[in-house]
Point group: C2
Chain length 336, copies 2
């Protein structure tokens, strides 16, 4: 894997270790599982394969024997209580990610992103208090930025139900570290992209549906276009997860991921078309029902995680987009 | 009622209005209901009378005919959907308040303080989008103060499960205002005391159990003693609720209540004994299991609500304590 810092290869810490990944058939979870398998870990991925979510069996169809797939829902308390035992690490990635779905079905989002997180932590406390935990949170908790780039001190003002519930999910993780000494930490992800992302629709990221449109020969539909965003290639995110999981100094802390390469949506569409060597885009106004939960410009300050881990993203956006387009050209029928 | 500001009597706005109060048999809810009845409102109080919570039928035993009691739990979605209809105001006070209980039974706290709040808001959205809503939140959401007095810009870092869930509850209220235009606002209460408070134990406030100890002729047990706190007499809190509910400028905002009269727990015990003309106290070390979720010194900056409403507490602590002790002397058998 890509070395993210001056530290030794972080994957060494995982050799022979037992790893549980919730949401492990999803985009980031499956990439993480594949990296960990290369590092010689024994991995159990837990995923419920809810059709609207990121889980896709194709993501691990050619997985090495070190990966075991266990279909289960994180809301299923008894299964999780069993599964949590005997593992050295928990990468807790399962979540409802769609902002729009969180508004139309707020209770499901609450059950998955808040209630199930509490029950996972209770299970850790009771059955495996030594397990090292990484919780995947989101920049969505900050809401509309009051300043840029957004650091971890920025006020927490979510603009959708998903954001409120992710706040609760991460606060439970921090709390269980502070009160019970569980070995938890939180990463607040910005837009993540790469092979194995959901491209059927925009539920994971709008960039997914852009790639689908591009490869289907349709114009990419850009909403607005001037909003600035930052992006992380999935390998960079996986590297951050591995490093943070094996660094005790990160216990009880929350860290932004992000990139100093910031780009407007219109420029991103142009770049995507350029690296793909095909495609076109149209710009349309932001739909009214989405505007209310839109956050405007957003990009992260990830200086805090850089300071503690030396982490910074190493895959330039153009390279990452190129690799992503190439992956989906080869695998389109399994993802669209 | 006590006039809190230079504005006209705020109770005028409630004459002939239909009011729903969740947690209405509890401490603050029942005091609010009695004030509103005097103002000529028609009140329905909703309460589930969970034995560990604040609801007590005695609180409204001599209530005027304008008050109807409806026993129901805010987790009961169908009942709330029905009850929410046809009301002009909702004072949404039902909650689990014990910090310790939120740690030993975190799911019940989550169900009441977060999930039920979401379902109440969904019910408002669907069945009564014009209803004026006041949500009772708590200073507990701030966690251990990073500076004093604590204003609304202070970071939100709850130190117990109750705090996490109250954050979610209030964020849902603010969100449903921002996105759907519901007429919600949030008050973050500090320690509130007065007639009809729970004194059986410390689940509502330690001051309750102190009064019980005092009137039973037992020494008051002070934990620690040097921690600074601020207190609001219940009539002042009720006045703030009435004013905020009838002020459109407060929509979508969260306000601290508080007092500039700050006092250490030891001094508070001394003052209580002085105004009661009886009693003694002992100081013991803070119990280990509570220390982890203790917040140290806390007092609020309530300048924001003062600026918009002119509100400030008018009942001095000594007077409020005196009235409270007198109430419980007359009614002890119904509360201990």
């Amino acid at each position: 894997m890509t070395t993210q810092s001056n530290a030794a290869d972080p994957t060494v810490a995982f050799q022979g270790k037992k790893i549980l990944i919730t949401g492990g058939l999803g985009f980031i979870g499956s990439n993480l599982a594949l990296q960990l398998a290369k590092a010689g870990a024994q991995i159990t991925v837990v995923d419920s394969l809810i059709p609207q979510y990121g889980g896709n069996l194709r993501n691990l169809h050619d997985a090495p024997p070190g990966i075991t797939v266990n279909i289960a829902d994180v809301r299923d308390r008894f299964s999780l209580r069993y599964l949590i035992r005997g593992h050295d690490f928990l990468f807790n990635l399962a979540g409802q990610t769609s902002h729009m779905d969180s508004m139309t079905d707020p209770f499901t989002d609450l059950d998955i992103n808040a209630t199930a997180q509490l029950s996972i932590l209770e299970a850790c406390r009771e059955y495996n208090p030594e397990i090292e935990v990484v919780f995947a949170s989101t920049r969505q908790i900050y809401g509309r930025p009051q300043y840029l780039p957004v650091d971890e001190k920025h006020p927490i003002k979510p603009v959708d139900v998903n954001g409120v519930n992710k706040v609760a999910g991460e606060q439970f993780h921090i709390l269980y570290q502070n009160v019970y000494g569980l070995r938890t930490r939180v990463l607040r992800l910005t837009n993540t992209y790469g092979p194995r992302m959901r491209i059927k629709d925009a539920r994971q990221t709008f960039l997914g549906v852009w790639i689908k449109q591009l490869l289907a020969g349709q114009p990419i539909e850009v909403w607005g276009g001037t909003q600035l965003r930052d992006f992380n290639y999935v390998d960079d995110v996986v590297a951050a997860m591995l490093e943070v999981a094996s660094t005790p100094a990160t216990l009880g802390e929350a860290y932004n991921l992000g990139s100093e390469e910031r780009i407007s949506l219109r420029e991103l569409a142009e770049l995507l078309i350029k690296v793909a060597g095909q495609g076109s885009f149209t710009v349309r106004e932001f739909p009214a029902e989405r505007k209310k939960i839109d956050i405007g410009d957003y990009y992260s300050d990830s200086g805090k995680v850089h300071a503690v881990l030396g982490w910074q993203p190493v895959v330039p956006l153009a390279d990452g987009l190129s690799r992503t387009v190439e992956f989906f050209r080869q695998n389109l029928q399994h993802y669209s």
